[in-house]
């Protein structure tokens, strides 16, 4: 009996006890989105300096890699369209190589060469597109030119394309690269417990004190969180959803993830979440698996070396790999229909 009383007192005192917060949480408004840098257990000054370093780096990348605001990448695209070769920075060259590799692995479902198609749909616009959708003939005309990353060649810092229809748009993996860069900068400052979340896509390293980081995954069709995963060590969690950017026209919804095969918004998926170490890989693969859809996502995941992935189809059914099923925890009651598919 007395033990029970003491328990009540302990409960009460722990309810009153102040918990030291060791979390440095900073919001940055860069790259046209909200970037959240959370650092656990770092020195105040180091955290501030590192976060400022991240902000500066992301601003540079935004300037250099922007697909439509005039800058280095638009100049490269102009040259490619004119059939000329263009000098590229080491960083741009590296991104083009990685983008080509990821595009090849995905069987072309992830294709950063279709900038013209994205522009045709009106997604090269900060305010988001307003419709109407482009007519099927102009979409077909662009598809016929078959722009692909394999058309590109880099020699001595100079980029040329066999196909003048190639227009680079790093939208499918620039965010991943930016998150990787941010984490690299934090680590240079010996901050080894942190999350960088850029507009909902994140890489988490280390732990939140004595527990792993807890990540909530947004429900594509409802408010709040559908599931959660615990992350520790070094992993990136990326989600591509049809709710992120879209427009409605005459009652039909057109989202921003364009299927390079059809030239129209990919059908069948409402969101795809992938987990891998590098954010750039998680970002590109989330896009590729979304385009692949409920029937082909497993093959694409395997080809891209992704063993943890979840796809929610347009009817709310959840598909996932066994490795994802093992660690994910559904936060909705009742849980949605789930099918585990081995790659």
């Amino acid at each position: 009996m007395r033990k029970a009383f003491i328990l009540v007192l302990v409960l009460l005192s722990s309810a009153c006890g102040r918990q030291e917060t060791k979390l440095h949480d900073t919001q940055l408004l860069v790259m046209g989105t909200l970037v959240n840098v959370s650092i656990w257990d770092g020195d105040d000054d180091v955290a501030a300096v590192a976060t400022a370093g991240v902000e500066q780096r992301l601003r540079e990348m935004h300037r250099d890699l922007h697909a439509w605001q005039p800058g280095p990448l638009t100049r490269v695209n102009e040259a490619l369209a004119a059939g000329k070769s263009a000098p590229v920075s080491e960083e741009a060259a590296m991104l083009i190589r990685r983008g080509s590799e990821l595009s090849r692995q995905s069987g072309g479902l992830f294709n950063p060469a279709i900038g013209d198609l994205i522009a045709l749909w009106g997604f090269h616009n900060d305010d988001g597109p307003h419709g109407p959708p482009p007519d099927a003939a102009s979409v077909r005309a662009l598809l016929a030119k078959a722009p692909a990353m394999s058309d590109l060649h880099i020699e001595d810092g100079s980029l040329r394309s066999e196909n003048p229809a190639v227009q680079l748009d790093f939208g499918g993996f620039a965010k991943g690269y930016a998150v990787d860069e941010a984490v690299r900068i934090l680590r240079e400052h010996h901050l080894n417990n942190a999350i960088v979340n850029a507009g909902g896509d994140l890489r988490a390293v280390g732990r939140h004190g004595d527990r792993p980081w807890r990540i909530g995954i947004r429900d594509p069709r409802g408010p709040g969180v559908i599931a959660s995963v615990e992350v520790e060590g070094d992993e990136s969690v990326f989600t591509s959803g049809d709710y992120e950017r879209y427009f409605e026209y005459e009652g039909k919804r057109y989202h921003h993830i364009i299927d390079p095969r059809s030239g129209f918004p990919a059908v069948g998926s409402s969101s795809v979440t992938t987990i891998s170490k590098e954010a750039i890989v998680a970002d590109a693969s989330a896009t590729a698996l979304f385009v692949a859809g409920p029937d082909a996502w497993v093959r694409t995941a395997k080809a891209m070396g992704i063993d943890q992935a979840m796809l929610i189809d347009d009817k709310g059914k959840v598909y996932m790999t066994p490795a994802m099923a093992k660690r994910i925890h559904f936060e909705v009651d009742p849980p949605p229909p789930i099918e585990v598919v081995a790659p």
Binding site: A4, F5, I6, V8, L9, L11, L12, A15, C16
Partner: protein, 185 residues
């Protein structure tokens, strides 16, 4: 006054009762009367009562020890709630937790080896712990809304004020009791 009279008159079952039982029954009855009377006083906030029944619990604790005080307190909450009609309601759960925590603290006071406390100190601790217990029950069981926590400092302040008042009353009560006992000897 014959203390055996009520039980014989009201019940055909003959129960062997000790002097302790009678003492507990009478003191609990007194506490219950105060408990019920207090329930009739309009309160600005639920859970805020002068806690005059505390006077009886603390006086019993000092005069007759912790065991008797625990019984009186428990009986007060049980029977008092039956009389008011709040048995097994949230209000009852709050009263019971408050009483339980307060009795537990009295137990700790009994075990405390440091300087002794007068009824003032005992009532203060008893009142604060009663409120703390009641509040944690309310927060943990019924309304785990963070907004509740902002009420806690105010409630505890009121508990301290009422603890002081009941401490003064208990001190005077005990002193006059002892005075009368001394005079009659």
């Amino acid at each position: 006054m014959n203390p055996t009279e009520p039980s014989e008159a009201s019940s055909p079952i003959i129960v062997m009762t000790t002097r302790d039982d009678h003492r507990i029954a009478w003191l609990a009855a007194l506490a219950i009367v105060i408990h019920v009377a207090e329930a009739a006083i309009p309160s600005p906030m639920p859970g805020v009562k002068p806690g005059l029944a505390n006077v009886i619990t603390v006086a019993v604790f000092i005069e007759f020890g912790w065991r008797t005080a625990a019984w009186v307190s428990l009986l007060r909450v049980l029977v008092g709630s039956l009389v008011i009609g709040s048995f097994l309601t949230p209000g009852f759960a709050l009263s019971l937790t408050g009483a339980a925590v307060s009795v537990a603290v009295l137990g700790l006071i009994r075990l405390w080896p440091g300087p002794s406390l007068s009824p003032l100190g005992v009532c203060m601790l008893s009142s604060l712990s009663h409120m703390a217990g009641q509040f944690s029950a309310a927060y943990l069981l019924f309304i785990p809304h963070p907004g509740m926590l902002t009420l806690l400092p105010v409630l505890m302040t009121l508990a301290a004020v009422f603890g002081l008042v009941s401490g003064v009353i208990t001190s005077l009560l005990l002193a006059s009791l002892h005075g009368r006992v001394a005079n009659s000897e």
